[in-house]
């Protein structure tokens, strides 16, 4: 890895972290409402996966979508404005946190339905195969989606049709308030992929380098028309399931343990150690991220409220 790459990856992670912290703050201040799922603690997955993607690769996300959108190149200003329901948000205030769409940077859509975007990603991958060889589709989903029939149906079709598609499972061990062990005996998405002859690997999702290493060949395989892969990233969400969730179902010790595996801090430590980064650079990157997010907050705050009659416009093309 070169210095520039390291800086760019860190930039993405800090941007997501700073963005989510700001969202949490604005939610507490009632400047944003809605059902918000933060990905603090899971930044390495988004940053690593998207570092291999171009603008015209097509990305689908889950309900925990902010980080994916930013990593794909989404504008934090328009994203935050969308969360605030403003007319200058990506969706003009109609979508909100779970329904962000930024197709101009290849971020197709998030979803409020667990597993809901997996089939959609197949279709975009079919399009790539037919019309844009070399382009690929990517879909993020949580461990909770593993037990949705749509996931299995999608693995089957993706493998059968050799679609240029990357499945990324963010396995954070919980679906809402319930640990994965209460949902299935098959605690790894990669076990499912393997049945369908889909190349797959489970990695430490808080280790940016491990994710990079897993994703690189998977993306290459999809680009060269050899079919889908699945990368499963074991990670943890540091905040509640949604903002406001007191997380009583988790032990404090568990949280502490994962705090020590913070993906951002770990990468920083590694990069400094490897001579790719120094403290000053780190500080500068973090500061830049925070100031981007402040600008985004101003943009969102000052953004115009949608016109009332926009409510019934734009239903049909």
């Amino acid at each position: 890895m070169d210095k520039q790459t390291a800086a760019s990856l860190l930039d993405t992670m800090y941007l997501i972290r700073a963005f989510e912290e700001k969202v949490s703050e604005l939610y507490a201040k009632l400047e944003i409402r809605g059902l918000l799922h933060l990905g603090i603690g899971q930044e390495a997955v988004a940053a690593a996966v998207c570092s291999f993607l171009d603008r015209d690769d097509l990305l689908y996300s889950s309900h925990r979508a902010h980080g994916h959108c930013l990593a794909k190149g989404g504008d934090p200003r328009r994203l935050l404005a969308e969360l605030a329901g403003k007319a200058n948000g990506y969706c003009g205030g109609k979508g909100g946190s779970m329904h962000i769409s930024a197709p101009e940077v290849g971020f197709m859509t998030a979803t409020g339905v667990v597993g809901g975007t997996i089939p959609l990603a197949l279709g975009s991958a079919l399009f790539c195969r037919e019309r844009r060889p070399g382009r690929i589709a990517v879909v993020f989903f949580g461990d909770g989606a593993m037990n949705m029939g749509a996931f299995q149906e999608s693995l089957n079709i993706a493998s059968l049709w050799k679609l240029p598609l990357l499945f990324v499972c963010e396995n954070n061990g919980y679906a809402e308030f319930t640990p994965i062990s209460a949902h299935t005996l098959v605690e790894r998405a990669s076990e499912h992929a393997a049945v369908y002859h889909i190349p797959t690997v489970t990695v430490d999702g808080n280790d940016l380098l491990a994710v990079l290493q897993a994703v690189e060949p998977a993306v290459a395989r999809a680009r060269s028309g050899d079919g889908p892969s699945l990368v499963e990233c074991l990670t943890y969400r540091m905040r509640g399931h949604y903002e406001g969730d007191p997380s009583k179902y988790r032990e404090l010790s568990e949280l502490q343990e994962w705090k020590s595996k913070d993906p951002v801090a770990r990468f920083v430590a590694w990069a400094i150690d490897a001579g790719l980064l120094d403290e000053t650079e780190r500080d500068a990157i973090e500061a830049a991220a925070r100031s981007k997010v402040e600008a985004a907050a101003d943009f969102a705050r000052e953004g115009p409220v949608p016109e009332r009659d926009a409510v019934s416009r734009g239903v049909y093309a």
Partner: protein
């Protein structure tokens, strides 16, 4: 048991579940996170009291869980399944509609399906297009299903108990926006009298307003304001959308000669159309004006605060419709 004054809608649901589980060992509760109380505590305490054999956390597999509950009901259990939001019933309609609703008829009466599905619906808090729909009209179109939509805390419990005791699959729809509401006074409601019967919530002589779910309280607010200007609306809550208590609705419109139907679902294709069609047939000669409908515009539910507010019909929408019905602009 009538809930005490000060009981919230949510507590009333919780109590009803507990009482039915106490009364009948065949009542089982299934759903995502139900063993820890669900997202708002509707099932709180049940796993502790009745054990995780009867209060069963399920994986996120709505279609299969509903099918499973139907299969258990066929054998005589009385499952109460929670589908967290009615938006996700889209994943379970093959099981619910093709199997649950039809098995009694298809089997020539050999089978029955005493199943209750509890589900949240309606707009609140900016949750957007996947957590806010009102899909009752779909289910009211399905022979073999019953559809219940309570509007007060006391009735929520009574209707839920009636649904659980019913020998048919019942979709029980809880508006999230009502969860923390309380009734002004404890209303004695017997379980037996609720399912399939409408209730006149406020008598009036000028216009009948048939309102469902959270729109009942909206209509009652509209009634207060209209009363101040001398217009007395009669507010009727069908409570059960299938089967429908047409008699009570028709009796009201026969008296007032005018009707407005108010629901939170989008107007086009909503249950309001069915009510209009049945009412105009039943009371044609009494109607002094066309029956009006109040509901959401034909659009998905937007997330932003102002758009959401513009989407949901409020008392002004009802007042406007009542005035228009009376020929006053």
């Amino acid at each position: 048991m009538t809930p005490a004054a000060g009981t919230t809608f949510l507590q009333s649901i919780n109590q009803a579940l507990r009482e039915e589980m106490l009364a009948d060992p065949d009542v089982y509760v299934l759903g995502e996170d139900v063993a820890v109380g669900g997202p708002y505590g509707a099932t709180r305490g049940l796993a502790e009291e009745f054990g995780e054999h009867r209060v069963i956390n399920t994986p996120i597999s709505e279609g299969t869980v509903v099918g499973l509950a139907i299969g258990a009901a066929l054998q005589g259990l009385r499952p109460v399944v929670e589908i967290m939001f009615v938006d996700f019933i889209t994943l379970a309609l093959d099981q619910l509609v093709n199997h649950g609703a039809k098995l009694r008829y298809m089997s020539g009466g050999q089978l029955k399906v005493p199943l209750t599905i509890r589900t949240m619906f309606g707009v609140s808090g900016g949750w957007g297009a996947h957590h806010s729909q009102s899909l009752e009209a779909w289910l009211a179109h399905v022979p073999g299903l019953k559809v219940v939509m309570p509007s007060t805390a006391c009735e929520a419990g009574a209707l839920l108990r009636a649904a659980i005791r019913d020998d048919n699959p019942v979709l029980f729809m809880e508006h999230r926006g009502l969860y923390w509401t309380k009734d002004d006074q404890a209303e004695p409601t017997t379980i037996e009298s609720t399912l399939g019967t409408a209730r006149v919530r406020r008598p009036g002589r000028d216009v009948t307003v048939v309102a469902t779910g959270r729109m009942v309280s909206t209509a009652l607010r509209a009634a207060e304001r209209l009363s101040a200007e001398g217009v007395e609306i009669e507010v009727v809550d069908p409570r059960t959308l299938s089967p429908l208590d047409l008699d009570t609705l028709a009796a009201s419109v026969r008296k007032t000669g005018r009707a407005v139907i108010a629901h939170e679902a989008v107007v086009q294709g909503g249950i309001g159309g069915e009510l209009v069609a049945q009412l105009q047939l039943a009371v044609f000669d009494y109607l002094e004006a066309p029956i009006l409908r109040v509901g959401a515009p034909f659009a998905p539910v937007p997330a932003g605060e102002q758009l959401e507010a513009a989407f949901v019909p409020d008392e002004h929408s009802i007042i406007a419709a009542v005035r228009s019905c009376l020929g006053r602009a």
